[in-house]
């Protein structure tokens, strides 16, 4: 009996990424890449543009050109202010769906094993076993765990593949990484 089998604390997850998983992972990765200062800046910039546009339209629009300009300002402010919440996720969703549809052969079945000390990932092309401290970042949202082995390399673990008791265990283990970030989870 191997040490892993004797331990009895491991979590084994096998899954194949679905289209919805892929889309959710891309949206989560985009959220993980956003800094809160950038989000606040975009929202405030959008708000100020909208207010300025309305004030110009109501009080200072003397001719057709200035009316068009102030209306455009309001529209631009709305687009910038709602970028993070509305059209950016929609754009990411569209791109991810298109990529998944055209690159289905790249979505390989994965097996992830979480031990007390290490985690391993195995696909048809790749096998790695690494301690949790080797992860550059771990991000968790309502549907996904994103495991970053580097800034531009990430592995996705959809929560739907985990039973509730294993979900708690995996979260506990991943929290050992110093760059663990959790958003949108109660």
């Amino acid at each position: 009996m191997t040490r892993r089998e004797q331990g009895g604390h491991q979590v084994v997850v096998s899954f194949l990424m679905t289209r919805e998983d892929y889309v959710n992972s891309k949206q989560a990765a985009a959220r993980a890449a956003c800094r809160s200062a950038e989000i606040h800046f975009l929202r405030w910039a959008g708000f100020l543009l909208v207010v300025t546009g309305i004030v110009l339209r109501v009080f200072f629009a003397v001719n057709g050109y200035s009316r068009i300009l102030s209306t455009l300002m309001v529209l631009l402010g709305t687009a910038i202010g709602f970028a993070i919440d509305s059209w950016q996720p929609a754009l990411i969703r569209h791109q991810a769906q298109r990529y998944y549809d055209t690159h289905g052969e790249r979505m390989l079945a994965q097996t992830m094993i979480f031990d007390e000390e290490t985690m391993s990932i195995q696909t048809d092309r790749y096998r790695v076993q690494l301690p949790y401290s080797y992860l550059y970042q771990v991000y968790e949202d309502g549907k996904m765990f994103l495991l970053y082995t580097g800034q531009n390399e990430l592995w996705v673990l959809p929560k739907r593949a985990l039973p509730p008791w294993d979900l708690v265990k995996v979260r506990e283990l991943l929290k050992r990484n110093e760059n663990y970030k959790r958003e949108g989870v109660r």
């Binding site: 790249r106 696909t123 048809d124 092309r125 790695v128 080797y134 800034q151």
Partner: protein, 192 residues
């Protein structure tokens, strides 16, 4: 795992990447595949626009009293050209070094076996095994081969410095015949 190891390897090499290796190779990949991201292309475009604006100054003066607006535009585009020329390469290298430093797996020394149908990378932590068809393409520079678009790793870098001239020639020939039109030379050249 893809069972490449049953074949006899064409070439076996051992290498360890440094941050500089990774940054140079990433830059090689980017400059070769995306010509408009090259610093001198961007700087050249900005200088051309500045010259065009300057050539329109006589016409502008015939329409308006001063040439403040075109002069501001010229200064802006020249400053942009200077930024692309001086700052962009430094920032790109810095970004790539940060990428390398963020991944502990990239720093590990590893053994790379090149097979007829694919490539296998082995180190203390990982085993990566990809068929050539898994990659989107290959870029060959004077110091590196960069295989890009793999399923498990976006950039797989092979150093030429660890190869003898004969081995490098053999590997180049193998990659050229394998990737054919998807194998590019540094700065956008193609093999004939």
């Amino acid at each position: 795992m893809a069972e490449l190891s049953r074949e006899v390897p064409v070439l076996v090499l051992e290498q360890q990447l440094s941050a500089e290796d990774y940054a140079q190779a990433a830059l090689l990949y980017e400059n070769t595949l995306f010509p408009f991201r090259r610093y001198w292309v961007r700087a050249g475009i900005c200088i051309c626009v500045a010259v065009l604006v300057a050539s329109a100054i006589p016409w502008y003066l015939s329409q308006f009293a001063t040439a403040v607006v075109p002069i501001c535009a010229i200064v802006f585009f020249l400053a942009l050209a200077l930024y692309f020329w001086r700052e962009q390469p430094r920032r790109r290298l810095h970004g790539s070094v940060l990428q390398f430093c963020s991944s502990r797996l990239l720093r590990l020394p590893g053994k790379i076996s090149v097979y007829q149908n694919g490539i296998v990378l082995e180190n203390d932590a990982e085993t990566l095994s990809e068929f050539w068809t898994d990659f989107s393409g290959c870029v060959e520079g004077h110091a590196y081969y960069v295989l890009w678009g793999g399923i498990s790793r976006p950039l797989l870098i092979l150093k030429k410095s660890v190869l003898s001239p004969e081995q490098a020639e053999r590997l180049s020939a193998h990659l050229r015949s394998t990737f054919a039109g998807r194998c590019r030379l540094e700065n956008g050249g193609r093999f004939r």
